[in-house]
């Protein structure tokens, strides 16, 4: 006890010698270093991404020329594909094909997912609706949607209707399933709260259950966009006169593999953009979602 009382005080001289300005300067330098390090790592990452793409393109460019016996018509190098791409962009044919595919995807997606959400709400809330529809819906869901392409042509002919109908059909199932799961798993407390606040069944459905299930619904919609692109291509491969799927199948007939590559590229770009748009929308529409689940 005695020793502790007589122990020398902690030397404060070193701290006291630092003026407020010097302290701020050290802090600033520290923050600058951290920020610079972060930028450096980011630049390095981006540079490596770019190098990876360049290596891929270089190998693709060189391979058809180096390997004996490869026909550049069959295996067009990137330079050739880019030439074709630029040509198709300037004459507007690429945009026309992309636009007719997009219209079909959008129409089918809206119809299919609206139906999916409504049926998901009904089957998730009403045990009777679920039991009634389960065998039929699950049975139909098990059949790959593109297997219906010939049937759609027989029933609806060669116009827009069979394509939109097929996409509606294919997008319905993932949206229905995920809405159903989201609705079924809505916490009971939400429904009980709404009941004791005087909400009618319809208000509970659309103001409480649906918003509570929205993150699930959204996952289903996102999956459905991918499905929609698969189906639009399948539908356009047979019995179409426009669209990216038609472009690919037409290129096959006229043996223009470079054009085929342009079609594939455009499909990849559209699919990627649609998914990125969904991800961005998710952040904007549900600012509350992630934090709620964690907290």
């Amino acid at each position: 006890m005695e020793a502790r009382l007589t122990a020398p005080p902690i030397p404060a001289a070193a701290d006291a010698a630092l003026t407020e300005d010097e302290k701020l300067e050290i802090e600033n330098r520290f923050r600058r270093d951290i920020a610079a390090g972060r930028r450096r790592r980011l630049r390095r990452g981006l540079l490596l991404n770019l190098v990876g793409v360049l290596i891929f393109l270089a190998v693709w460019e060189a391979l058809p020329r180096l390997v004996p016996g490869v026909n550049t018509q069959m295996f067009p190098p990137p330079s050739g594909v880019v030439m074709t791409l630029v040509g198709m962009m300037t004459d507007g044919s690429l945009a026309a094909h992309a636009w007719s595919s997009l219209k079909r995807v959008a129409a089918g997606f809206v119809i299919g997912s609206t139906a999916g959400i409504l049926v998901g709400l009904l089957t998730g809330r009403l045990a009777m609706a679920q039991s009634l529809s389960d065998p039929v819906l699950h049975g139909l869901r098990s059949i790959p949607a593109i297997a219906f392409v010939p049937l759609a042509i027989v029933w609806f002919g060669l116009g827009e209707t069979p394509k939109v109908a097929l996409i509606s059909w294919g997008t319905f199932f993932p949206v229905w399933i995920s809405t159903f799961i989201g609705v079924r798993d809505v916490p009971k407390l939400y429904v009980q709260s709404a009941l004791s606040l005087g909400a009618s069944p319809l208000n509970i459905m659309f103001r409480v259950v649906l918003p509570a299930a929205l993150p699930f619904v959204f996952a289903g919609l996102r999956h459905a966009t991918a499905v929609a692109f698969v189906i639009v291509v399948a539908a356009e491969l047979v019995g179409a006169s426009s669209g990216l799927g038609y472009l690919i199948s037409f290129s096959h007939l006229v043996f223009r593999i470079d054009m085929m590559f342009v079609g594939l590229l455009a499909l990849g770009a559209l699919g990627f953009l649609a998914d990125a748009a969904f991800a961005a929308l998710l952040q904007r529409v549900f600012p509350w979602y992630r934090s709620e689940r964690n907290g």
Partner: protein
Amino acid sequence: MASLIEVEGVSQIFETREGLANWALWQVSMNIEAGEFVCLIGPSGCGKTTLLHLIAGFMKPSEGSVRFAGAPVGDPGPDRGVVFQEYALFGWMTARQNVEFGLRMRGMAKAERRERAREALARVGLERAIDRYPHELSGGMRQRVAVARALVNEPRVLLMDEPFAAVDAITRATLQDDLVRLWQQTGVSVVFVTHNVDEAAFLAQRVVVMRPHPGSVKRSVIVDLPYPRQRSSAEFARLYADIGLALGE
């Protein structure tokens, strides 16, 4: 005159996970008066939450009757406000939208319900958090919003199911003080489920001690201490011991 809530010979049977029959409540009778503050206390499985849900109208008793304001309890409604333990605020609505929900369901005009919601949130000390989402609020603040959401509908009884169990002890003490103040200001009846002896002793005019297997009322402890209660007083200590003893019998 009839009591506000009359529970008469109520039994409630449940199916256990093994498929057996389990009596959550057995032959429970009690009356709760208008303006009374009652705590239901007991270990888990004593049926205190079941009793609360029967009064709220979330389920019907297997046997016996539950009457509210002279009539058998029907569907849940805003005359019996419910505050749950946690996570019952709508996460996609701001504090104000949560409080407005009941008024909106009644079809009240927008301007009026906004004003009422603002007043209700001000009464629980949350005027400045009015546009925050639940995930932006602390556990204590969320429960204040939940109380405001129930009280804004001017219920005759507030049914509270361990509402402060998930918040820290310091916040809980503040919430208890505020609840007593709100109860005195509004004259609403409160049925408050807890498993915390201190909480029951601090809040209630009457503590109903329950026992499990099957859930039933063991004893009623009348508390005639004035509000606000002093936890450091000798009377409080005696009361605490009384309730503890009744629980342990």
